[in-house]
């Protein structure tokens, strides 16, 4: 019995040993194989990485080039914009200068016309009669009347100035400075502290000469007159009307600034 047991034990041991030894031999080969495979896989992966890196580099390079191009384009566009806006600015300035020069020339012309009218024999005016002027002028011409009235205004003779402007508007209703003359009538009343008359004349300017440069001025002066008469609500409405109806005028800008200061 003990011998059989001993044999069985020996057989088991031998089997275990042989199994152990056999197993060890198989693992080494496998490991090598595995190692080779791993190496191969690593090489493939490295190659793939290199390719990907190269692709990424290439993509980055392309992106960088694209960015440079964009930058260059943007700079060119910026330069173009600056040049264009600079030119536009210069053009606007030149336009303004021309406008100022034109205004100045018109004034000089006006003064010259007034002088000519002054020197002309009685009944003769340097300004041709306006279409629609039925009355033949027998006194000073419109330019002279205007200039003399402005001078009276400057001297503080508001009543005399107003009479001059009124005569001008009656005799030469289509004179180019009729809107300015009408506005001066309003200002003369304002200087004489006759706010009611001044206000009605300011509104008359807006009504009669709505498209003239004097219309927003008259409306703005009307608003200031309401403020002086302690009527801030009406003044606000009028200032808003200046902004709404004459948005590009200087008076619209002044009206915006003035609205901000009214409580």
């Amino acid at each position: 019995m003990s011998t059989r047991v001993a044999r069985r034990a020996l057989l088991s041991l031998a089997l275990a040993v042989s199994a152990t030894i056999g197993g060890c031999v198989a693992s080494k080969g496998d490991i090598r194989l595995l190692q080779d495979e791993l190496r191969s896989m690593q090489a493939v992966s490295a190659r793939a990485d290199t390719v990907r890196r190269a692709q990424a580099d290439s993509a980055l390079r392309a992106l960088s080039v694209a960015q440079d191009s964009m930058r260059a384009l943007s700079a060119r566009f910026g330069n173009f914009q600056a040049a264009t806006s600079g030119e536009l600015y210069d053009m606007a300035r030149q336009l303004l200068t021309i406008q100022e020069q034109t205004g100045l020339s018109q004034r000089r012309l006006q003064e010259l016309r007034a002088t000519l009218e002054e020197k002309a024999p009685p009944g003769v005016t340097a300004t041709p009669p306006m279409p629609g002027d039925s009355t033949k002028p027998a006194g000073p011409g419109p330019a002279q009347l205007f200039q003399v009235s402005v001078d009276q205004m400057r001297r503080g003779s508001f009543g005399v100035a107003r009479s001059g402007f009124d005569e001008l508007l009656t005799r030469f209703p289509r004179f180019e400075d009729a809107p300015a003359a009408q506005l001066y009538v309003g200002q003369a009343y304002a200087e004489e502290k006759n706010a009611t008359a001044a206000d009605s004349v300011y509104l008359l300017v807006v009504q009669r000469y709505a498209t003239s440069a004097e219309a927003p001025k008259a409306l703005y002066k009307y608003a200031l007159s309401q403020l002086a008469q302690k009527k801030p609500d009406l003044a606000k409405q009028v200032l808003q009307r200046v902004i709404r109806e004459y948005p590009r005028s200087d008076e619209a800008d002044l009206a915006r600034a003035r609205l901000g200061t009214i409580k």
Binding site: R93, T97, Q101, K217, D253, L254, A257, R258, T261
Partner: protein, 429 residues
Amino acid sequence: MPRLAVTALAALAVLASSAPLAAQDTTAVRIGIRYDPSQRPGVLVLPIAGVVGDSLRIIIQRDLDYGDRVVVITPDAALAATLAAGGSINYPLLAKLGASRVVQGTMTPRGLHVALHDVAKAQVTDVAEFPLPIAQNTRDWRAAVHGVSDQVEAWISGTQGIARTRVAFIRGSVVRMIDSDGEDDQAIPMLGEAMSPAWSPSGAQLLYTTFGVNSRVVLHDLTTGRARAFGQASNTTNLTATFSPDGSSIVWAAAGENGSDLFLMPVSLDAPARRITVGRGTDNVQPTFSPDGRRLAFMSSRAGHPEIYIMDADGTNTDLLTVSDFGDQNYRSSPEWSPDDRQVAFQSRISGKFQVLVIGLRDRTSKLLTSDGENKDPSWSPDGRHLVFTSNRSGTSQLWILDTETGRTRQLTHTAGSRLASWSPRLKP
């Protein structure tokens, strides 16, 4: 022959020829010397007895001379002593010296008694007693003597003199004041580094602006010494403040990143500032009121380069004043409206240098007033005849005074760096 002498002879001839008629005609004939602005009468100031007599005489003589309306005759001391020897005026000798008027001053316990003699009529025409402060040769005493000179000038020419005035100016970022005759140069206490002083119409206050981070407009009371400041805002520089002629408002320029505009504020500072120009990114500075306060002249770059414009005081009716040729790169600035409302003084760059000019408000023709060195920042005297301006003609920046009628100039300051002058109104006693 001098015109006055001719007038006197003519007057005598008229008197002689009309003598037989005088008995029949009851109409009185008045004969005398009338002041003619184109002909400056000779004036002699007699020596004044007393401790400060010489000082008084020198100040009055100098004031009359600086007024440019008379010719001051200054005989030597020995001759001068004989002109009123024994209490009687030697009119024939005075006439030979070319004097048509004689100023006779006498010290009294209260001040100075002054009599103005008409040499042709051989009589006193005007007389007054002027109180003088007891402390002699002080600022107040000198001011009182200047007041005497101004009254004498008014008697002779009909126009009050400008001796009792001061000029405010800047030297080294400090506001200073100096008498119209160049005496008593003094600084006023400052709030910051100052620019562009301007007088109130009463002469009791000064306005100036400060530059730097806390740029402000400062209202300085010369009587109390107190100062009130306003206009401080971030990224804003306040410039060129001025009073309205009635003293009720202040107009100044506030400059930010988008150009500068003019603003109006009541002197009481109890209402918000109101913008009165539409600069749209351009510069609008250096306001100056017309004497009636209805209009303003100012410098604007709205049409490209700086020019002078006029507008209504409410901001409407803006109009170009100065004339320039198209493409002209010389610009015009620093306008100053004359007290007689006839012209505006300004500076223009001519051949690279600033010069002072005036432009007529009626005919808009300009007249060049200076050419020696560089001359700028003109300011009118209250008589509308003289201008104070900054000039480097002596080698350094100094204040000079120009008589616009005769072209005569004199140096007001003698310390380098004086600039930005503003002439006061006639100051009250």
